[in-house]
């Protein structure tokens, strides 16, 4: 992800222009994009205009782009012996939540990953409100709990690992949805970070 640019370096005129283009984006573009996203089977859609970028992400966890344990390629006759790896099951037919609700209501889902290799211990149940920095679970590393931290304010919508499950470093263990329905950030297309535009995944 690109470093968020400080907003302090803008003139009031620039800010007004930004707000105007944001309003235009959300009024005219977003409904069309939501339509496009739900009919395409894509997990994510991103459009850029001027200095603004808008990204819609389907709430289906299968569409998340972070690596899951099952994503590691396997070779050889032992490839199917890893019983603990959960398969990701892409559900391309699943309608985006945005379709059912009001036009721009696409919840922003953030996956939470394990900070260590060890045994998973959940703390917070799905449905709970969490704040950025809150501990939602821990991973037992040789008897010492390593905190699993929510990266954003929002609602813990899913816990992917069960109590006592073995988790590896970087494995997705929970999902948090922010209250912000449409994610926008001011990343000029010129200095865009690699991967930001290529994340659309089925």
């Amino acid at each position: 992800m690109p470093e968020p640019r400080p907003t302090g370096d803008r003139t009031p005129a620039q800010r007004r222009a930004d707000h105007a283009s944001l309003a235009q984006l959300s009024e005219s573009l977003v409904p069309a994009l939501v339509q496009k996203l739900s009919s395409s089977g894509l997990g994510e859609l991103e459009v850029r205009e001027g200095d603004w970028r808008i990204r819609l992400r389907r709430s289906n966890p299968a569409a998340a782009s972070a690596p899951r344990r099952a994503d590691r390629p396997r070779l050889g006759s032992h490839a199917d012996r890893e019983g603990r790896g959960r398969e990701t099951t892409p559900t391309a037919s699943g309608a985006s939540q945005a379709q059912a609700g009001a036009a721009p209501a696409v919840p922003r889902r953030t996956m939470v990953t394990s900070p260590a290799v060890g045994v998973f211990r959940p703390d917070v149940k799905p449905g709970a409100r969490v704040r950025s920095g809150d501990r939602i679970a821990s991973v037992d590393l040789l008897g010492i709990g390593q905190d699993v931290i929510s990266p954003i304010d929002g609602t813990l919508v899913e816990v992917l690992a069960g109590a006592g499950d073995v988790v590896e470093y970087g494995e997705e263990v929970a999902a948090v949805e922010s209250d912000v329905t449409v994610e926008t950030d001011d990343a000029p297309a010129a200095d865009d970070a690699p991967g930001a535009g290529g994340e659309a995944s089925a």
Binding site: R69, R72, H78, A116, V117, G118, V119, L142, V166, E168
Partner: protein, 455 residues
């Protein structure tokens, strides 16, 4: 009894350990960092588990992450490979304390051989010749007196630590007097200890090492020697056996003295004793490596003994199962280290994606590598991509196979040092068996390559 091993390493040695486990009917779990998710050992293992980010301090050097990974995947042993935590006695002890078997020397043995200076004294007491040197130096007058006794040139060395800090070679009393305060302050800054000692400087030396294996019951064998004189800035590039620098009688005598000394000193498991050999064929012990070494396949080609499997069996408490008479030194073997580094640009290490790849093959050719077409060489670790090992009935036959194998080797997309090996195989000092450890650095890598192309 070991039934499931955590491989706490990466690259070609992780694959090598995996193969030894398979041979013994043992399951293997590969612990990998995020940068090695698509590595060959991670993909081929019975199970693979991500232990941390690319930064080795939080993955391959993290004892808690490795031990946790071993426990949660149901392993009963840990193989540390080489480098990383392989000779760390605290790690070996932590592994043991968690009810796991450390595949290597036990922690107390690692501790006994941890200090280079103490190991030299210990093994000298058990009959190994060491480089003539001084005890700890007192004042300047004492240093000059000791240097006179040893004979110039001498090497000034700090007694704590290594890595060349506080180390100077001097050729005269005046130079010695000038560098003493510099070495003291460097040693104090680097190690918090400014004690120094002197060692005779061997101008043109060869690096010869003896492979040993000792079981828990004190039964030990040597597996002959390897010559690792082809080096660049103290990094080995090419290793061979038998050593062209020593007579058959000299090799036998050195190997036998080495195994007698380490058995007497209480060593256990597989290890290597390193010696410097001077122009007159005198060997001086310098240090012991308490681990499997990069160049171990050279010995496997000559003896037919699987050294990694031997490590595992010894760690499991089994007797060695063979005697000195069962260890032949048959033919000649040469290993070429294939590194992702650019000989034309001062051997700068490289990274990137291997686009085309072909492994050499045929009789007497072995290529231990984790590389494949499409493999992305991560920039975080050492540059070793693989080890090309050739065997022949004679040194000439091995060199001929080396030529053929190096010509078959294709690695595109990442620059390798294969060119330096082709140059070595046609260089006069190498063909004459007269390569010394300082030769490449004296000539310079680029000049060496250029000279080889002309001849």
């Amino acid at each position: 009894m070991i039934s499931r091993v955590l491989i706490a390493n990466r690259g070609e040695i992780a694959l090598r350990i995996l193969r030894a486990c398979r041979t013994l009917g043992i399951e293997a779990v590969v612990a990998y960092s995020e940068a090695d998710r698509r590595s060959l050992p991670a993909m081929l293992a019975d199970e693979a588990i991500c232990i941390g980010p690319a930064d080795a301090r939080r993955s391959y050097l993290s004892a808690p992450a490795l031990i946790s990974a071993a426990l949660v995947t149901g392993c009963d042993a840990v193989h540390p490979g080489y480098g990383f935590l392989s000779e760390d006695d605290a790690f070996a002890e932590a592994v043991r304390a968690h009810g796991l078997t450390f595949i290597g020397p036990p922690a107390n043995v690692l501790e006994r051989f941890a200090s280079k200076e103490e190991t030299r004294r210990l093994l000298a007491n058990h009959g190994l010749p060491t480089i003539p040197g001084s005890g700890l130096l007192g004042d300047e007058a004492h240093a000059l007196e000791e240097a006179e006794r040893i004979g110039y040139p001498v090497l000034v060395k700090p007694s704590a630590g290594g890595g060349g800090k506080g180390m100077r070679m001097v050729r005269s009393p005046r130079e010695l007097a000038a560098v003493l305060p510099i070495c003291r302050s460097e040693a104090r800054a680097a190690f918090g200890d400014d004690s120094l000692y002197l060692e005779r400087w061997l101008e043109d030396n060869r690096h010869v090492e003896v492979q040993v294996a000792v079981d828990r019951f004190g039964h030990g064998v040597h597996l002959w020697e390897r010559d690792c004189s082809v080096q660049r800035r103290h990094q080995k590039i090419l290793e061979e056996s038998p050593s062209p620098a020593m007579s058959a009688a000299g090799r036998r005598e050195l190997s036998e003295r080495a195994i007698r000394a380490v058995v007497a000193a209480g060593y256990e498991n597989v290890g290597t004793l390193e010696f410097l050999v001077d122009n007159d064929g005198n060997a001086y012990f310098i240090e012991i490596n308490c681990r499997i070494q990069v160049e171990h396949p050279v010995t496997e080609m000559l003896t037919g003994i699987d050294l990694v499997a031997t490590q595992i069996r010894i760690a499991a408490g089994e007797p060695l199962g063979f005697t000195q008479e069962d260890v032949p030194q048959r033919g000649h073997a040469i290993e070429f280290r294939i590194n992702a580094e650019d000989p034309e640009h001062d051997f700068r290490p490289g990274a990137g994606t291997i686009e085309r790849f072909n492994a050499p093959g045929g009789p007497g050719v072995r290529f231990d590598t984790h590389a494949y077409a499409g493999y992305e060489v991560p920039p975080f670790y050492d540059s070793l991509l693989g080890k090309l090992v050739v065997w022949g009935a004679t040194r000439e036959a091995a060199i001929a196979r080396g030529h053929a194998a190096l010509n078959e080797l294709v690695i595109e997309g990442v620059v390798t040092n294969a060119e330096i090996h082709r140059a070595l195989l046609v260089s006069e000092p190498f063909l004459a068996g007269k390569f010394t450890t300082n030769l490449l650095d004296r000539v310079g890598g680029a000049a060496f390559l250029a000279g080889a192309v002309r001849t």
